[in-house]
Symmetry: C2
Subunit: 156 residues, 2 copies
């Protein structure tokens, strides 16, 4: 997560993983991707799938629908409210903003589903981490992977 990747090499495995991921709107799990990719590359390992999903996520080619950290967090306030998550230090804070229940009804109308609740989280940097980032990278240089995967796999 901290390591700066020199460049991202184009491999058969990575190519197929990205293609499989792009081929569906079903928000697959790593294991589903693994099973799909195996149809084409029977010898690929699950570890490779995980490694590549991580690289793709870090380089912005894919989204990971998780809570960031691997473990659950609990909230003793059971009434719905929104959260802000600092992507650097992991802190979770409540957002003092009214809950928009009207959105639930809108989704019900749009999709024919029954909505019980929604959850809204904002991701970014808390004030303290903003300050530290400015200190470490005074000239606005992002500490992302040096070479975006876009170069290897043009989307356009």
């Amino acid at each position: 997560m901290e390591r700066v990747r020199g460049f991202i090499r184009r491999t058969k495995q990575r190519e197929v993983i990205l293609r499989v991921l792009r081929s569906t709107r079903s928000h697959p799990t790593a294991d589903w991707v693994y099973q799909e990719v195996r149809k084409e590359l029977p010898n690929i390992s699950l570890g490779t799938v995980y490694r590549n999903l991580k690289i793709l996520t870090e380089s912005g080619e894919a989204l990971e629908l998780s809570y960031g950290s691997s473990y659950s967090r609990f909230d003793g306030v059971a009434t719905n409210h929104y959260h802000f998550v600092c992507e650097r230090c992991g802190r979770v804070e409540d957002v003092p903003m009214p809950v928009d229940d009207e959105k639930d009804r809108a989704v019900e109308r749009l999709m024919g589903v029954k909505v019980r609740q929604h959850r809204l989280e904002f991701y970014g940097l808390c004030p303290a981490c903003q300050a530290e980032m400015d200190q470490r990278l005074p000239h606005g240089r992002a500490d992302r992977a040096e070479t975006a995967l876009d170069e290897a796999y043009p989307t356009h």
Copy 2:
């Protein structure tokens, strides 16, 4: 998750866990709760903490800030969009609703943070699962815990 609990017994452990959970707004992990509770009940086990957090979550006394299922899901479409999660079958679908980036700016103003993005998920029942629920429970009876924990630990 399917089992209907007869009643929820009042125990020292459950009492302290709930109190600890209510005592903070820091959205703690199970392990943090464990460490806190241990200050008062040094012999409590982590398993008990997990069991009780689960019971509290199921009975609506607490929220679990996780993605529901234990594993991550990935999304090959990296541009932000919203999701609907069926709480019964686990299906995840895109919500055809425009992304409200203005909310990010509002949170930045409210909290002094820098918001990079937000994530919004709706939870409920997909049409297929609604139908199945109606079939199994024709009279609208919720298959929740029979006795809410509210009875044992009045909040009001």
